[in-house]
Amino acid sequence: MKTNICALVLALLMTPSACDSSSLSVPSHADASTKAKDGSSNVDASPISQTPSASGQCPEGYTPCGKGDGPYCYDLTRSQDHCGTCEASCAAGIACQAGNCQQYGCKGALSFKTMVFGSTGTVGALGDFDGDGILDLFGSPEADGSMSVLYGSGDGTFSTRQVVVPSSGLTSPDSNIPVFVGWQALAADLDGDGHLDLTSIQTYESAVTIRLGSGSRQAPFGEPTSYPTSTSPSSVVLADFDADGRLDIVAGVSQALDYWRGRGGGRFEHQALLDSRDVSNEGPGITLATDWNGDGVLDLVYADSGFSGKSASPAIGSGGRLHYRLSNGDGTFGPEVACAMNQGIVGDLDHDNRPDVISASSIMGSTLSLGIKGCGASTVVNISDWTKQGGVALADLNGDGNLDVIVDDNLAIMVHVGDGKGGFPHALTLPAPTAGSWPLGSFFVGDLNRDGKLDVVFARGGGWGVLLNTCQ
């Protein structure tokens, strides 16, 4: 009921001007313009993915990826999500050609060109919403909390904006100051039509909202569909937990996680409310889908409390202890397992096919818990010169095959270059491009200018912009 009222309010608030595309004044760069390359894969005559035939067969040249009742047929030579082999995805904006991700391997040291686009704003997701082969941005470039698509120009700038969800219009009772509405949005193709769809949660809304994408710049999304939740979710995750080839939704709510299975066509069916003995009344903190036990099925990993990542990307020092539920791969999860380990950012830093966690240290720096099995790390390392609190992202920024860490250190943005063994021997310090304030730093990584190098969109308290990868 509450959800419907909110949706109605939002609809009423959609003024024509808010829905107009408007130009953002952003700097452009002659040297970064590679637009001519764009769209080549998109206009290819044959589709990258197809639904299998009634008998479940894929046409010649296509391979079924995904399991259970929802496999699709992919051209593994060109599919970004299944490049070379099923589930081997290329980083955002990196093309797949001849079954290989076309990421550039830096020959020299990492370097970035900093571009600041605004003094406020938050970023939610990167994706090619209009299908022109250039990454776009879903975010809130202004302080009013409106959610917009910012269309990428192909040079690292975003020239055109389309408002999707206008500002809530909510103001605090004793002043006209707009109430800050936190939100989290995820971009993924939920209905298999090749267009990115939006999955979002928002403060004051007890629902997960789905908007199916059209690929059109004029009307990028259809009418929202709401999946009600018991409380306003603190976090939302899209992942194929049941291994049927379709994305599922997990939303963190008060003392539980709510789980819907993807049913195809962008529809979801409520499967279970996963009660938690530890999750706070405000819902879980950082919530992730990752293969925790190495069985090839994505599991659910979440913090019992703490900063969730809504309105930002995950942060070191976000609080809470790590919990997980192993997926059985059939739409059910095993029991909740609570670890003494602090929640942090999860990735395989050392190629041992076991999760590693970066979390905050008590006194200073970060703690790397490497080679985790269950709740226990085989090695724990402290890195005293890392920040103990700040937004963070893991990505192979220099294309050497090893995960690097980009982290907001308040006074600077630090890039710690991974050696693939859990060590970070080199660091690049980028002077803070904007003023910062908590929450410090969200990072979204993708190739914005189609040069094969991963760029970084940052949003921090005092503004947002792009770090364009200029490595040689």
């Binding site: 202890r321 006194i363 200073m364 724990v380």
Partner: protein, 493 residues
């Protein structure tokens, strides 16, 4: 506040078990310690004794009679339980439950207690055998609650244990300043428990001078202040996280405490003081670290005691084998909700797998158990409901004699509605819960809940004091006017 006090108790129980038995066969000597429980140069032990521990920490122990190494090395009997013929002589309970017999407090309700009244009435205590008669004696001192607590807080009292579970009229002793904590260990190797009494005087607004005095136990039950074996050190005000234990393997207890406060921009530090050949303490190392509670235990299984600093989370300082330590390693673990230092918790090897475990109150009025896997690694957590809420004390001991450690918690049923927030909890009852340890490392809550009465509990200690070879629970409480100590006798059959 409660957490600090309960820590002292918890820690001491650990020390008593470690310290008393280990030094069982030393001879007296203060100027130079004649350690005769150390193995010969070739690593051999005298006939009838077994080598326990490794390296400089190795000792020779008579596994037939040593309550810290009873039957096998490091197999400790519950406090006060005799080791005979290599078997802890604890009476094994056949009943599923562990009944406790005692008298609840009947004083006035603690509603509206003024904290400043408490120091003069609320005692904390440890149990140790200072006269070598095989019975645990009670050492009590008052809790330094306030800044201007007065000189009476320098007094500690020793009540000798008597047959039948009573204690003799206490003898009073005066330390040089207000007492912060008392540790029992056999410092001079005569088989009797000695006391390290840590007291402090203010240096300035930020720092105190901590005096570490050694009081030697004697056969007549009178303590004798030693000229050696102690020292004084300066540290920041209000640091009760002192830990004492033999870190270097020389037999003399060493000391870990917070470093002096210098300025607000400086990170917190802890100092490690090592003993010399006379037991005098000298600063050995300083580390940037914060500890609300420091636990001395072997966390990596190399046989040398490491330091676990419980602050926001947990940091381990690994012993290099000689009493010097590696830089602190932050384990990246926590008990959730609050810093570890603010949790009531107990550290011990509950499931006797050789790795230290932690049990702690959690944010949901339960006891969460972290079973150690060595180093920073822990098994998945288990959480257990207890009776009541607001855990105030958490202790461990093998209460039923099955060889597996059980957990004892004291919690309260409280109603703080309508009271100003002055740090005092209006309490309607204090409840004692027993979580009985299962062989697989899990626990189950005993149905029987014991009401300790309405009074404010200042200390809970476990030890066999009634002579029936079952560990009892000694509770100190206060009604705001006078302190009481009651023994809850373990009457399991």
């Amino acid at each position: 506040m409660r957490a600090q006090h309960s820590f002292t108790t918890e820690f001491l129980i650990g020390l008593m078990v470690l310290g008393l038995g280990c030094g069982g066969n030393m001879t007296t000597g203060t100027a130079k310690k004649a350690v005769n429980n150390k193995p010969a140069e070739d690593g051999s032990c005298p006939s009838g004794q077994t080598l326990c521990g490794v390296g400089t920490f190795a000792i020779c122990a008579d596994l037939q009679s040593n309550p810290s190494h009873c039957g096998t090395c490091d197999r400790a009997c519950s406090p006060g339980i005799v080791c005979q013929a290599g078997v802890c002589q604890q009476t094994a309970c056949t009943s599923a439950e562990i009944p406790l017999s005692g008298q609840p407090t009947t004083g006035t309700s603690t509603t509206g207690l003024v904290p400043n009244n408490m120091p003069y009435t609320a005692a904390t205590q440890i149990l140790a055998d200072v006269n070598g008669d095989g019975r645990l004696d009670r050492i009590e001192w008052l809790i330094p609650f306030c800044q201007d607590c007065g000189t009476s807080l320098s007094t500690f009292r020793v009540s000798l244990g008597r047959p039948g579970g009573t204690f003799a009229t206490p003898d009073a002793y005066n330390a040089s300043a207000a007492i912060g904590s008392v540790f029992a260990t056999d410092a001079n190797g005569d088989g009797l428990a000695d006391l390290y009494v840590v007291s402090s005087t203010d240096v300035d607004a930020q720092n105190s001078r901590y005096h570490v005095e050694l009081w030697l136990g004697q056969n007549d039950g009178k303590l004798k202040r030693s000229d050696t074996g102690g020292n004084s050190a300066e540290a920041s005000v209000g640091q009760s996280n002192t830990a004492i234990g033999d870190l270097s393997g020389d037999g003399w207890p060493d000391l870990v405490m917070a470093a002096p406060f210098s300025d607000f921009d400086s990170p917190p530090k802890i100092n490690v003081y090592l003993s010399d050949s006379t037991g005098g303490l000298h600063l050995s190392q300083t580390f940037i670290a914060w500890s609300g509670r420091t636990v001395i235990a072997d966390w990596n299984g190399d046989g040398s005691p490491d330091l676990a600093l419980l602050g926001d989370g947990m940091e381990i300082l690994y012993n290099r084998g000689d009493g010097t330590f590696e830089q602190p390693l932050d384990c990246g673990v926590s008990v959730g909700g609050k810093p570890m230092a603010e949790r009531d918790l107990v550290v011990d090897d509950f499931n006797r797998d050789g790795w230290m475990d932690i049990a702690a109150e959690d944010s949901r009025n339960r006891v969460t158990v972290m079973l150690g896997l060595g180093g920073c690694a822990f098994s998945p957590l288990s959480a257990y409901d207890i009776h009541g809420s607001n855990v105030g004390f958490l202790l461990d001991a093998d209460m039923n004699g099955d060889g597996i450690l059980d957990l004892v918690s004291v919690s309260s049923i409280s109603d703080v509605s309508g009271l100003p927030n002055i740090g005092v909890t209006a309490t309607t009852d204090q409840l004692l819960s027993v979580l009985i340890g299962n062989p697989d490392g899990t626990f189950h809550l005993q149905d029987t809940v014991i009401s300790l009465g309405p009074n404010w509990i200042s200390n809970v200690t476990i030890g066999e004091v009634t002579g029936d070879q079952r560990p009892d629970i000694i509770v100190s409480s206060s009604d705001g006017k006078s302190g009481q100590s009651s023994t809850w006798e373990n009457v399991c059959q």
